[in-house]
């Protein structure tokens, strides 16, 4: 099931790419069908996961490179636990959203949707790999579709941004590869399940702290952590809407997931020593990101920088090393994916109509597009942590989890919430409120089904998680418990 789900988009991508030119218009329908099948599978797994059962479920294991031919074993090993399963669901959900918001792509649609589906496979693979080598391969596979999607279908300095993204990630990947190899050779296995059961590494070729640092560089770039973040605003801004959604919604979470799954699970001793250091970088990211966000004049850059700030909460919660903080960090990944995904969708809808993202040029849009304004306001309020919407739950859990460990740094993090209210509300005030501008006289609201369905679905889930967080929180808690017990 898990393997089928992971590779089904890849098969779909091949099918989409092989469509005859005359049937080009089918590409989006085919992509939608594929992403819906994957979403259905993901939801089925979510429902079927036994919350009282084994940690990793739906495991598919096959030996790939056996120890008979090499001094190590690499396995094709897929499986999910409480930490990865919600992220798999999030991926499947946002991939469907991404297909819908790309409905009007006219430039080479077959290629576009094919790359989008390849991207989905790589993301699902990252979250369900239980073998370090396989994890690394999926982690790298994502670069290829991302490069093409940004550089061909992007806007602005798209080639520059695409390269910047690839090189930044690749820089981190080199460190990660070293870290993974060092871990694998020291432990004699690449199986994450075995690695996390092991005691401290004794015969490490490289000291554990160095491995930890190497992995942190890779994941710190992805998350991102200031000062490794400057690829993010460029890539988010110049990517097409759907890719911004995936980028902010899912790709950043590879960083947070990697930190929890690899750094913390496998090297808990180092994590304990690094706690304060991580919290300090988290607070730096939160405040620095939020302050820089305040000055952004481009809607997409504004949301991109706000992601830097919001992903700081993931690191902050993680740095607490306890169940509450780790659950908060995981929740923050999930809710940020929903909220920022929705924000990017809405900005895309604005841009489709106005062909500008410059905040000073936009004004009074609520008169022309009340639906877009309303949904954007809901997403913005969720982003600034309004209770009853998803963002509040995760941020508050992070704060509650971190405060006992790092009081001052947590309070600094709390201040980010005020700054978030500032940049969100000033944006809403300038872009949507105010006198109707004659320049935007002719534009219309978002009424098409492929605009309404994904946005309403996102709003519904944001509300659901905000009002009844236990739907995903219980699962995340189960997922982080083994990590917390190793750290504790």
């Amino acid at each position: 099931m898990l393997s089928f789900m992971t590779f089904f988009p890849l098969a779909g991508a091949v099918a989409v790419a092989l469509l005859p030119r005359a049937r080009e218009a089918w590409a989006r329908w085919l992509a939608l069908a594929v992403s819906l099948v994957v979403l259905a599978c993901a939801l089925a797994l979510f429902a079927a996961y036994d919350r009282d059962g084994a940690q990793f479920q739906f495991v598919d294991a096959h030996t790939w490179i056996s120890s008979e031919v090499a001094p190590f074993t690499v396995r094709y090993l897929l499986g999910v636990d409480g930490l990865s399963l919600p992220l798999v669901v999030l991926t499947a959900f946002l991939a469907t959203v991404a297909v819908l918001v790309s409905w009007n792509i006219e430039l080479r649609p077959r290629e576009y949707f094919a790359w989008l589906l390849v991207l989905e496979t790589s993301l699902l693979g990252v979250f369900s790999s239980l073998d370090l080598v396989l994890f690394f391969l999926f982690f790298e596979l994502e670069l290829l579709p991302m490069y093409f999607l940004i550089s061909i279908w992007g806007t602005g300095r798209r080639v520059y941004s695409a390269w910047k993204y690839v090189l930044f990630t690749f820089f981190g990947s080199a460190f990660m590869l070293v870290g993974i190899l060092a871990l694998g050779f020291a432990a004699g296995t690449f199986d994450m399940r075995e690695l996390q059961e092991m005691g401290p590494l004794r015969e490490a070729v490289v000291p554990a702290a160095v491995i930890f640092a190497f992995l942190m560089v890779a994941f710190g770039i992805k998350l991102p952590v200031v000062p490794l973040h400057t690829w993010l605003p460029d890539a988010h801004t110049d990517a097409p809407t759907a890719v911004s959604v995936i980028l902010a919604g899912v790709l950043l979470k590879m960083g947070g997931y990697g930190i929890l799954r690899l750094c913390f699970s496998i090297l808990p001793d180092v994590a304990r020593d690094a706690s304060l250091f991580l919290a300090a970088f988290a607070a730096l990211s939160i405040l620095y990101g939020a302050l820089v966000t305040l000055m952004q004049q481009d809607l997409k850059r504004l949301i991109a920088y706000s992601s830097v700030s919001h992903m700081g909460y993931v690191l902050l919660g993680a740095s607490a090393l306890g169940t509450v903080g780790l659950t908060g960090a995981a929740m923050q990944m999930f809710t940020h994916g929903l909220i920022t995904g929705l924000l990017f969708v809405m900005v895309g809808l604005v841009y489709d109509r106005t062909h500008t993202r410059a905040i000073p040029e936009l004004s009074g849009l609520a008169h022309r597009m009340p639906y877009v304004a309303t949904v954007m306001a809901i997403a913005g309020l969720a982003s600034l942590g309004l209770p009853s919407l998803a963002g509040f739950v995760s941020e508050m859990t992070v704060f509650l989890g971190t405060f006992p460990q790092h009081q001052l740094l947590t309070v600094l993090g709390v201040m980010g919430v005020l700054l978030a209210a500032g940049y969100i509300l000033w944006m809403v005030q300038r872009v949507f409120w105010g006198e109707p501008s004659p320049r935007w006289q002719g534009i219309g609201d978002a009424v098409a089904w492929w605009e309404r369905v994904p946005t309403l679905a996102l709003v519904a889930v944001i509300l659901l998680v905000g009002i009844y967080p236990a739907v995903v929180m219980d699962l995340f808690e189960r997922g982080v418990l083994p990590i917390a017990s190793r750290l504790g």
Binding site: K164, P370, L381, G422
Partner: protein
């Protein structure tokens, strides 16, 4: 009188208005998708229906609380979220304090919604207005009935959201959108303290349930310094919400919202939430000497300072806004002087007469098209009902016998006399200033000759002001009845008894026992009458020119008109110069040129190196492949080097 209210019925008080919001929101969504089944008028009816039902249930709840001597009616909490050691429950806290608040909120809200039928008639945002009003009422009811501090905070933020949305209701106006954002940000600044306090208390006690926190605090299980910081942090949030100095600056601007919104949210209920919060956590304050002294001082300073501002405002709603701030200061000063029950009793009476005064100002605006008192005058003849009801409200505000404000204000003063004499004298001066601005408002609005009005909220400038329609007058008359009589409810100390029951048993003696003192009552009456007399001389008889007084006190007058230059300080200097132009802009440039500059510099150097390498290669995929190979080699080398 009735059977005790079941828990489901208690929850319905909160859920009915929230349900009304949900229905209107979904109906509006359907309308915007082309399914036009819903008529805007239904939004108003549904809201009124839901709130009327909530009022009925609230009275039932109050009855249950009275039968229980104000002690908590034990509804068991329900689990909401559990993560490791963190458990968040939600529960319905029904005791004397919350029951009284339920009745105040639903009662005033119902009056305001009825009034809005007339006031908002024909507004294009009619449905949106009632949706937000429903949401606000539900959230406010949720706030006062929350048994858990995190649950309370959820509703606390939601009422703030509604306030934001309703201040900015006419979102196309520049002043409205600015005021809305300002209100949200200033209150959220205070909320940083509240959040920190919640984190602190959870860290130290592992509890978020308010009753459990009280048990631990009163049982001495929490260090004194922790209690002090907790109470102080909570007060920062309360001061933001209740517009206490120095966080009061958002409330006058909030008058940009429709007037019924000002009456409900920015006079009677939401702004009193801060007072309610301090009262809810009173045991913690009573044990933290520094914290409760701060409450008293801030309250007294606020009461005085803003009463002074009320004297110079020319916009009738701004006079009332500063009056509200001042009265909230009275309540805070009362709580800070251990006058637990009197402060809440004052909240109770104030809700009626201040809502009435705002509705009256809306009625005046409806007739004249302006809020500028310089353009009013002589309205007593044209609008007799508005005049009569507003006079009742005004006398209640001044605190003249036998109107409601007399009883509650007097109790606050009496306790302050015993506990904190300095606060008492400040509040007594405040009574004079209150009478002065109230008298000024009445004489400018209703006395003399009509001064033409202007096009206002509803865009018409009538030559002849006319009395408002019955649907607006009826709620005003009912509220006037309450403003005249609500004070008698405590004649047998019934209200105090009810409120005192809400305190935990071990904490009951922490609150001061109020006594009626004839001397204090007479003094405050005399001071109030003196204030009215001065107003009459200056604005009624015009024996002394107000302009001449203003000129004579020019520096003070200017200081007051500019709100002590606090807006300039906050918006111009701190937000504008320091945070935005200074730190944020600095970091923005740093990010762009230094951090990203380093990255691009490295990339540039690498590209130059790669250009030479590329001579042997053909295109980009090869570069990528070469880079992969390079990375693997690099990694292997590092591993080998580290493992000689």
């Amino acid at each position: 009188m009735f059977d005790p209210i079941p828990e489901a019925a208690a929850w319905a008080i909160v859920l009915l208005p929230l349900g009304s919001f949900a229905v209107i929101a979904l109906a509006s969504l359907l309308s915007s998708s082309g399914v036009r089944l819903w008529r805007p008028a239904w939004s108003g009816y549904l809201t009124i229906l839901a709130i009327a039902a909530a009022l009925g249930l609230s009275i039932w709840a109050l009855d249950s609380a009275i039968q229980n001597d104000g002690h908590a009616v034990g509804f068991a909490p329900h689990e909401w979220v559990t993560v490791g050691p963190l458990t968040v429950d939600i529960g319905f806290r029904l005791d004397g304090l919350s029951a009284l608040m339920l009745v105040v909120v639903t009662g005033v809200s119902l009056m305001v919604q009825v009034y809005s039928q007339g006031y908002m008639a024909g507004d294009p945002g009619y449905s949106r207005y009632f949706a937000f009003m429903s949401l606000f009422t539900g959230a406010m009811l949720g706030l006062v009935s929350a048994s858990n501090i995190l649950q309370l905070f959820v509703f606390w933020e939601m009422v703030g959201l509604c306030s934001y949305l309703l201040i900015g209701f006419w979102f196309y106006r520049d002043s409205a959108r600015r005021a809305a954002t300002k209100a949200f940000l200033v209150t959220r600044l205070g909320d940083l303290g509240l959040i920190s306090a919640i984190l602190l208390i959870w860290w130290q006690t592992g509890e978020l349930d308010i009753a459990r926190i009280h048990e631990l605090v009163l049982g001495g299980a929490v260090a004194g310094s922790v209690v002090a910081f907790f109470a102080g942090g909570v007060f920062a949030g309360a001061a933001g919400k209740s517009a206490q100095f120095p966080l009061h600056v958002w409330l006058p601007d909030a008058m940009e919202g429709p007037t019924p919104v000002s009456a409900l949210i920015h006079a009677a209920t939401m702004v009193a939430a801060g007072v309610y919060l301090v009262a809810r956590l009173f045991p913690a304050y009573a044990l933290a000497e520094e914290a409760i002294a701060t409450v008293a001082v801030i309250g007294a300073v606020t009461a005085l300072m803003s009463a002074l501002l009320g004297v110079v405002m020319t916009d009738i709603k701004r006079v009332l806004a500063y009056s509200t701030i001042s009265q909230l200061g009275y309540m805070m000063a009362g709580l800070g002087s251990f006058a637990f029950a009197p402060a809440i009793f004052h909240l109770f009476t104030h809700a009626f007469f201040k809502a009435l005064l705002f509705l009256g100002s809306g009625s005046v605006n409806h007739a004249t098209g302006t809020f500028d008192m310089r353009r009013m005058g002589g309205l007593a003849r044209h609008m007799p009902v508005t005049f009569a009801t507003m006079t009742v409200g005004a006398l209640a505000l001044v605190g003249l016998f036998p109107f409601a404000g007399f009883w509650s204000k007097d109790e606050v003063l009496a306790v302050a006399w015993d506990e904190r004499p300095v606060v008492f004298w400040a509040l007594l001066v405040g009574v004079f200033l209150t009478a002065l601005y109230v008298g000024r408002m009445l004489f400018l609005t209703f006395g003399g000759q009509y001064r033409s009005g202007e096009a206002g909220e509803h865009g018409h400038a009538p030559a002849h002001p006319h009395e408002s329609p019955l649907v607006m007058l009826l709620p005003m008359v009912l509220l006037a009845g309450l403003a005249a009589t609500a004070g008698f409810t405590n004649l047998g100390h019934g209200v105090e008894h009810l409120l005192a029951g809400a305190l935990p048993a071990e904490g009951e003696e922490l609150a001061a026992e109020p006594h009626f003192r004839f001397g204090i009552a007479a003094a405050s009456m005399a001071v109030g009458l003196a204030g009215l007399a001065v107003a009459w001389v200056v604005y009624g008889l015009q024996a002394v020119s107000a302009d001449a007084v203003a000129r004579a006190l020019a520096p003070l007058h200017r200081l007051l008109e500019r709100n002590y230059y606090l807006d300039d300080l906050y918006e111009g200097v701190i937000t504008g110069r320091l945070v935005l132009a200074g730190v944020a802009q600095g970091l923005h440039l740093w990010d762009r040129y230094v951090v990203d500059g380093v990255v691009n510099g490295i990339a540039q150097a690498a590209r130059e190196a790669a250009d030479r390498l590329r001579l042997a290669q053909a295109g980009q995929p090869q570069v990528y492949g070469a880079a992969v190979a390079l990375g693997v080699v690099l990694a292997t080398v590092i591993v080998l080097l580290a493992n000689p």
